[in-house]
Amino acid sequence: MNLLVTAFDGIAFGALLFVLAVGLTMIFGLLDVLNLAHGALYMAGGYLALLIIGEAPVSLAVFIGVALLAVVAGLVLGGGLSAAIRPLRGRGHLDQALLTMGLAILLSEFLLQSVDRGFHSLAAPIGLDGSIAGSYPAYRVAVIVAGLAIAGATFWVFEKTRAGALVRAAVDDPEMLAATGVNVRRVRLGVVLAGCALAVFAGVLGGPLLNLRAGLDTEVLVLALIVIVVGGLASIRGAALGALLIGQVQTLGVALVPELAAYLLFAVMAAVLLWRPAGLFGRTA
């Protein structure tokens, strides 16, 4: 019984990780930019919500409203990121890493300055702040539902719509796509905006689960990087499976072998990479 609860909780963490990581993996796939500011974007969502609603529980409608506002903020920040990395196109990963890392430090320090350096936590919205049968937080079920909805929507867009087809084409062969008269730059911009919006949204979604504090940006960035490395870069399916796997490693894995809790995450990552060096769904170039 306890282990079932633990495994279910792993799905909740996996759902949050997916919303966080899917944007990171698509930005990498399409622009060949590893956005190290992704964790800071997540943090921006949490602090934005904290500034607006504080730490007391609010109604579900207000909470959803704040989450939508976070999406808007993500679009704006994504526009800024896109403009910042454009001059560095073709300058290699190290320059881009330094730039996005610098942006991450600026953004996270700005957030800490605008609130304070202390510990904060968002409360789950009213109605979801209780526990189911007195033993499982209702909000975590809502996180799973939200994660599934976003995963479903992302798959649908990528597999069934023209926009998704353009993005897939831009990943596979940007030159050929450009030759057919499509503005590849616009496709890239769209993906950066969507990825950043999802990251900031994830910050609100995860606010009641992970505390807001200095250092949160690096912590979630590392988790997201592990998810996409395990899942395979530039693959939505990989991000989904990677997120679910890492979610289970962090919960069920820890409950089964608590002695190894500190190393488990990296052990699993190493094992997956030994087995499939490009990740579960990655394509070897």
Binding site: V5, S121, S131, P137, A214, Q250, A255
Partner: protein
């Protein structure tokens, strides 16, 4: 790489600040070097620490022991190497008379080593590592062992003599506190704990997998978590319904002022053992709480209290005159908002009362006083 960039920034910042100080020895001024985490994970505690020290100085008209006092702060960023560097700078360039502050234990250990080399006394305002203390090192906070020991003695009286499960973060503060608990519990006639659950320090975002390991025969749980982990633990414990399954006793950090607001309603009813509560009923405390509230709008945290007392200890030692290191050892009873305490003769650690406190309606209400062991 990110840390390398940060370290470079810090280095250049400190290099700019250092040159301007002149090192003339002046007998009418006492210089205090405070090594505080102003950035990094402990920076929230650092803010309280500096605010309390400055509040004390303001109260005393910027004088300690009748001399003009100058407080020079330096940022350790939670890093021992940085701390040691700052200690060197404070002693050699700024010629401080005493070093204080010190939040994280690894930083305190490094700084104490450097200060000993420069023959400058150290007053620790927070770091709890058991090994600290001795010649030239004075501590107004607590040792981790004593923190747990007091809770162990209380638990044997209030929670029963068996069925104890211990849980904490797997680093020195966690394991030392839990060891102290087991010893205090045994001293008061308690049986050996039936299980000890250690969780990776600083990486645990979800305690459900660990809480699920509490054996069914457990009668109560004693836990040590601080900062962000304290928030996550308190919320998880309540939201996964463990408050209905097992009684809980915690270290003081879980219901300290830095985390209470973030924990919110889930903190209600948590009982902890700590060296202070803003609700303590004595004149010193009433004055301290009202001054602190006027300045910050909040209740004072344990770190704020300890930092206030660090200045109080230095104040008294300077007033006594003579060699500061010797004077610090001879201060004797200190009338603190936590109640009267003194430092022991050997290791210069506080001999003090501990309090069992239950968090109710926005305050840590004191429900029992745990006096120090005659021998310790």
């Amino acid at each position: 790489m990110r840390y390398a960039v940060l370290a470079l920034l810090l280095l250049s910042a400190s290099a700019c600040g250092g040159g301007a100080m002149q090192g003339a020895q002046d007998d009418s001024t006492v210089k205090i070097g405070a090594i505080i985490s102003q950035t990094g994970v402990y920076s929230a505690l650092g803010d309280d620490m500096e605010a309390a020290m400055r509040l004390y100085l303001t109260e005393k008209g910027d004088k300690l022991g009748g001399k003009r006092a100058e407080l020079i702060t330096a940022d350790d960023a939670g890093n021992p190497e940085t701390g040691q560097q700052k200690a060197k700078q404070l002693t050699l360039e700024n010629k401080v008379d005493v070093i204080t502050g010190l939040i994280a234990s690894p930083v305190a250990v490094a700084v104490a080593k450097e200060a000993a080399a420069q023959k400058t006394p150290v007053v620790i305002a927070n770091a709890g590592a058991d090994a600290l203390g001795g010649p030239g090192v004075f501590r107004v906070s607590y040792t981790n062992y004593m923190h747990g020991y007091a809770a162990g003695k209380y638990a044997a009286e209030a929670y029963g003599k068996d069925g104890a499960v211990l849980m904490g973060a797997d680093y020195s503060a966690g394991t030392e506190t839990l060891k102290g608990f087991a010893d205090g519990f045994a001293k008061a006639g308690g049986a050996a704990p039936i299980k000890q659950i250690l969780t990776p320090f600083g990486k645990t975002q979800n305690f459900q997998p660990y809480l699920s390991q509490i054996p069914a025969e457990a009668k109560f749980l004693y836990v040590f978590y601080a900062g962000g982990e304290a928030i996550t633990f308190a919320k998880n414990f309540k939201q996964f319904g463990y408050d209905q399954k097992v009684k809980l006793l915690t270290c003081q950090n879980i219901t300290d002022e830095d985390v209470l607001q973030a924990i919110g309603a889930d903190a209600e009813g948590i009982t902890s053992v700590g060296l202070y509560s803003p609700a303590l009923d004595n004149a010193e405390n009433a004055a301290f709480v009202s001054k602190w509230k006027a300045k910050t709008g909040k209740n004072p945290s344990v770190v704020a209290l300890q930092s206030w007392d660090a200045m109080q200890l230095i104040d008294k030692a300077v007033a006594a005159g003579g060699d500061l290191s010797e004077a610090l050892a001879k201060v004797g009873d200190i009338t603190s908002p936590r109640g009267t305490f003194k430092l022991d003769a050997d290791k210069h650690n506080p001999v003090q009362n501990w309090y069992a406190r239950t968090y109710e309606g926005g305050a840590n209400k004191v429900i029992a006083t745990i006096p120090p062991d005659p021998a310790s």
